[in-house]
């Protein structure tokens, strides 16, 4: 995948770039609006876009991409979490909106989901050994036998597979799980139950035990011994 990162904060940009490159993507990084507007003329699969740029609003990039009809997925990454900003960004044609601070695993999961939506129109399959996940149909099979998962468990599994072999903290998973409904003033402490149920269902269906506990602080989805 060819990814354009538009982020003016050098440290954050460096982290995102390093992370995406470690995932095997080719990245270009710019730190202002004019460079970004200039660069989006060439083809990118995904643009990771910050809104508050030193020389203007990042939404200009969304406008330009959408007016040209280029098949580029756009993920807005912004510290502004007001609903208006979100709605405006998504209405202009951005594919997802991520509020800072976020964890790389979260960006990764969103990125993969956007790639599926924009480039595969949702009809691809995620394969992991005996596991097959079809996001378009919200279907999971183990050795071709469907597993009955709740929406939350399904979401969790997609998140795990997108971030396979990474240490995922409980906090990060909790934030991912609560993204659908903003809650203020509480942290999430119920991911344990979701994970326990997901693990139980997968094991029962004959799937390997891939969800590993990491010293009680998080989880890792891996098939390594």
């Amino acid at each position: 995948m060819k990814i354009l990162i538009v982020e003016d904060e050098p440290e954050l940009a460096k982290s995102i770039k390093a992370f995406l490159e470690s995932e095997g993507h080719i990245c270009e990084q710019v730190s202002n609006l004019s460079d970004a507007l200039h660069l989006v003329d060439s083809i990118f699969d995904i643009v990771v876009l910050d809104l508050n740029l030193p020389d203007g609003n990042g939404l200009e990039v969304v406008r330009k991409v959408k007016s040209k009809g280029i098949k580029t997925g756009i993920i807005i990454v912004s510290a502004r979490d007001s609903l208006d900003n979100k709605i405006e960004g998504l209405e202009l044609g951005a594919d997802d909106y991520l509020t800072k601070p976020f964890q790389m695993a979260e960006l990764n999961a969103r990125l993969k989901s956007v790639v599926r939506r924009v480039h595969f129109k949702g009809d691809d399959k995620i394969l992991f050994n005996e596991l097959t996940v079809i996001p378009g149909e919200i279907l999971v099979t183990v050795n071709n036998n469907p597993v009955d998962l709740t929406k939350k468990e399904f979401d969790l599994l997609v998140y795990f597979i997108a971030n396979k072999n990474r240490v995922l903290t409980k906090t990060g998973i909790g934030e991912h799980m609560s993204k659908d409904f903003m809650d203020y003033g509480f942290t999430d402490d119920f991911i344990y139950t979701h994970i326990k149920n997901l693990r139980k269902k997968l094991l029962k269906a004959g799937c390997g035990d891939y969800i590993r506990n990491v010293y009680g602080v998080g989880y890792k989805f891996t098939d390594a011994e």
Binding site: A79, D81, L83, P101, V167, T171, F186, D189, F190, V217
Partner: protein
């Protein structure tokens, strides 16, 4: 009480008092003048009588004279005025008379002269005068009052318009106040002040909003960098258990920091009333949705959910706020619940009650809605959820009450009685 009513009432009551006093004074003054006139007439009659001999008969056109023979010495040598009532022999009615009585000594006896003069014609006059004195000023005063009232009302029109527009004032609205212009200097000045205030308040509000956004941005970006760096470290190979635990602890702390920051920004937004779109919210549906979303937590603690809905429980408010409100309350009820405890929700037309079993409260119930007050030291609680609940209730016109009976904690939501 309206200014117009108040001044009118004062005007009317003072006027009535003084007019009554004036009419009474006028009546006595006329009465006095009429009596004086009658007395003069009676004295004139006396002078005529005195010139005549006792035996002569007198013919007075305007008064009657009666004579009595007294055995004693004269008593009223100078004469005395009196008001008397005499029965008219023709029709048996009482009639009022002014009388002058004097005694005159003659050889062989005393004669008492009583001169009577009917007051009927003058009484009528007095009555007419008094009536005039009362009725005309009252008429005059009423006309004056009505004209005055209309004039004040007209002048106050601008003032009432200003009040009406100020009542509808909302910082969230962009349009200007647009107050009427007036030819009265005081009102014109008042409106100028209000216009300036309106501009200033809206400018300040805009600055505050910008400040809120900027604070969020300024804090969230460094937090994002810290998060990404910790994450990077966490993925390195060959970390010891201790190192991973330290990094995860750091991640947790940063997350808490970020959430607290977000919650405080959210509270600031609530205080600035940035959620103004309202619609009808069905609370039965909303609570059910939230309970379903939190099902894993409920299952985990094996909590028995008892949902009673005895009526359509709906309220007009902002949807985002309603969601946060119910979610925070339900989460609170689950988080502070016991294993194998219960959660009772009672929706009725008038109120919504969310009750849960739990440990007795160890903080003061009144302080429960304050920021950073938390029961015990629940590791996942930021101590800000309930103060968000309270703020949402405040700005949405909902009365929220907390009750703790033994080990049952109850939050009761009711429509607030609107005070005008």
């Amino acid at each position: 009480m309206k200014l117009l009513t108040k001044t009118s009432l004062n005007f009317i009551s003072a006027s009535i008092f003084f007019f009554l006093l004036g009419s009474l004074g006028g009546y006595y003054f006329i009465r006095y003048a009429v009596n004086k006139f009658l007395n003069n007439e009676l004295l004139g009659a006396k002078r005529i009588i005195e010139q005549l001999d006792a035996t002569e008969s007198f013919h007075l056109s305007y008064a009657d004279v009666t004579l009595d023979t007294l055995q004693s010495k004269p008593i009223y040598t100078d004469g005395i005025f009196n008001d008397t009532v005499v029965v008219n022999p023709q029709n048996g009615l009482y009639e009022f008379y002014r009388s002058f009585t004097f005694d005159k000594h003659f050889e062989g006896g005393t004669l008492r002269y009583s001169i009577l003069r009917s007051t009927a014609p003058s009484d009528l006059l007095v009555m007419k005068f008094t009536l005039m004195l009362a009725v005309f000023p009252i008429l005059f005063f009423m006309i004056l009052y009505l004209v005055n009232r209309a004039s004040i009302k007209h002048s106050l029109g601008v003032f009432y318009d200003t009040i009406k527009k100020l009542k509808a004032f909302d910082v969230n609205k962009v349009n200007k106040l647009e107050l009427m212009t007036s030819d009265i200097d005081e009102f014109e000045q008042l409106n100028e002040v209000f216009n300036a205030m309106d501009k200033k308040i809206k400018e300040d509000f805009e600055h505050l909003k910008e400040y809120t956004e900027n604070t969020s941005h300024e804090l969230q970006t460094p937090l994002a960098i810290i998060t990404s760096k910790i994450d990077e470290l966490l993925q390195s190979e060959n970390l010891t258990e201790g190192q991973i635990k330290t990094l995860a602890g750091l991640m947790d702390t940063v997350s808490r920091l970020s959430k607290t920051n977000q919650a405080l920004i959210y509270l600031a937004k609530l205080d600035n009333r940035m959620f103004s779109d309202e619609e009808e919210i069905n609370f039965v549906e909303l609570v059910r949705e939230q309970i379903q979303l939190l099902d894993p937590m409920i299952e985990d603690k094996n909590i028995n959910v008892d949902f009673i809905s005895s009526g359509a429980c709906s309220y007009i408010m902002n949807r985002t706020l309603a969601n946060t409100l119910i979610q925070n309350l339900v989460k609170n009820a689950i988080r502070h619940n016991k294993i194998e405890g219960y959660l009772k929700v009672d929706c009725s037309e008038k109120s919504l009650t969310i009750a849960n079993s739990g440990d007795p409260l160890d903080v003061n119930a009144e302080e429960l809605f304050e920021r950073f007050k938390k029961a015990g030291s629940h590791p996942q609680s930021l101590g800000i959820g309930l103060s968000i609940v309270k703020r949402i209730c405040d700005i949405s016109g909902i009365d929220i009450k907390y009750e703790c009976i033994d080990t049952e904690h109850r939050f009761i939501l009711q429509k607030a009685i609107l005070e005008n």
